[in-house]
Symmetry: C2
Subunit: 323 residues, 2 copies
């Protein structure tokens, strides 16, 4: 079963969610709409909505209801991308110009705020306050993850635990919560809700670690931006952490590099090569695979139905993708 | 009845809300907590929580329940202050150093996001999805108001309607919603909910217009910052709008001033004097008073109980305050 086939089976429902997303950012304000629609069009895999739909198949599936949780989850992801751009000073994301580079940081900040607000408002379709609580909590945790990332920038002494907690907050929780909320919205039983949350968490960890690996080994064409972006922004991820831990020369090199990144920017390819020359990449892949394995094991506890197979396929794709 | 006496009557309950606020920003993250607590300590009149409490007296008042809506409303206000600082490049707010000046814009942005998320999470105490909807909607409208303010900066051709809509979104709605949600949380009847919303809206309009007037006529000591801040940031408020509309020399002066504000900053006192020399201030006071009058009239439709008198007193204070 290929990934495209899974998407195909949900095509009509994914389109409904796309429409819901587009309606959600159709505010009366021109600037806001332009900015938001542009972000919407930049697209992405809509992985969070797809997890909602698949998880909901373990309960009573109703797309009219589900779109009110699938869209908010994607909106929260979009809002975080907008705010990321304010922060990262990124000129390119998925190869398109960011909102920031065309308008300015201030509008981008309030656009992100608006999108967050819209996400939470859309989910009030559901009477169940647990849904709003999980959603607003996920948003808060994401912010804490972002703040931790700022705090940990340029810090060579952070340990693996700090890294793992940060990516849990930044990435894994929103995927976990997508699976969980799909199940809750479809009124699946609590056991299934919890297992799907766990599954999403493991997949999300694998997803982010893979992302962090790709920033070292991907090509500019694959990534839509040059490799080494994380280190150039002072972000220390698993491959660099591992390499520094085992090779004092790499640690020294990165330490000097961080003294003045702008001045030293041309050293980035040397540093990437040094790290790729160690077993840092294979170690990171191993850790990502361990999370993926746990995701598979969690899936085994779910009822046997075809969506289990779909979740397996998507998890594999996410954990093993090459770009 | 003095304002202080009204606050005194609610002292225990306001303290409970203060505690709720403090607990709400006690995240595990040190940086975030420091930043948030600092903002909390900077204080303010807690006018939104007080409106919640007074409105709730028209239904069944229960502070244990009410604090879960009073705190979120103040948190949304606080979140907007944090994001305002990112934008305004303000060095002083209420005479204290802002979060921005001590940490940086990026942490401030995510701290604001966190506070918004926390606000919405706290309100999930209530089962009623209408409460979450009104709250998230108020947050969105506030963002639109902020974006409108950015869009309208340096624009001499905006009309009064544009100004009024902007301050409605930026300020009046959150006060309207504070009154409304107090009534909803206390299960007052729908008529009372709506009248309290209207009352809050009129008070909020009067409040913001007064604020905008004070930026022209207040002293640095009263304002905690130099007068003329709005024009120095390119924000065109009611007094300037009126003065430009009736005096082409003032319009020309401001037009030139806006060409290069940094270069022309020393002209601000001249411009303030020119505007104060017209009837722009007395006109603006008249408009503020008209809103205040409508607020009083709305109050008349409410049941006769002492909180009606309190609301009247607070409205008068807010609409007529001198700093």
């Amino acid at each position: 079963m290929k990934l495209a086939e899974i998407y195909m089976q949900f095509q009509a429902d994914i389109e409904m969610i796309e429409n819901e997303l587009e309606e959600n950012v159709q505010a009366e304000h021109d600037v806001l709409t332009d900015a938001s629609i542009q972000l919407l069009k930049a697209g992405g895999k809509r992985i969070r909505p797809v997890f909602v739909l698949l998880a909901a198949r373990f309960g009573s599936y109703d797309i009219e209801s589900l779109k009110h949780i699938a869209a908010p989850l994607e909106l929260i992801h979009m809002g975080s991308l907008v705010h990321d751009d304010v922060i990262d000073d990124a000129d390119l994301r998925r190869g398109k110009k960011t909102i920031k580079s065309q308008w300015d940081n201030r509008v981008a900040m309030y656009t992100g705020d608006f999108i967050f607000g819209k996400a939470l408002e859309t989910s009030t379709y559901f009477d169940n306050p647990k849904i709003h609580q999980i959603l607003s909590n996920a948003m808060m945790e994401m912010c804490l993850g972002e703040i931790e990332q700022i705090r940990d920038q340029y810090n060579l002494n952070q340990n693996f635990r700090v890294y793992l907690r940060r990516i849990k907050r930044k990435t894994a929780l929103l995927i976990a919560v997508s699976c969980q909320l799909g199940a809750i919205a479809a009124k699946a039983n609590t056991y299934i809700q919890n297992q799907l949350y766990q599954f999403g968490y493991y997949v999300g960890m694998s997803f982010q670690i893979t992302d962090d690996i790709l920033d070292f080994v991907g090509t500019e064409k694959q990534l839509g931006k040059p490799a080494g972006g994380d280190l150039l922004q002072g972000n220390v991820t698993l491959p660099a952490l591992y390499a520094m831990h085992h090779h004092t020369d790499i640690r020294r090199k990165i330490d000097l590099f961080f003294q003045d990144i702008e001045e030293n920017a041309d050293q980035i390819n040397d540093i990437l090569a040094m790290i790729k020359n160690t077993d840092a990449i294979s170690y990171s892949i191993k850790i990502s695979d361990q999370y993926l394995q746990k995701a598979y094991e969690t899936l085994e506890t779910l009822p046997n139905q075809k969506e289990k197979r779909y979740l397996y396929e998507i998890a594999s794709y996410i954990g093993k993708r090459k770009f």
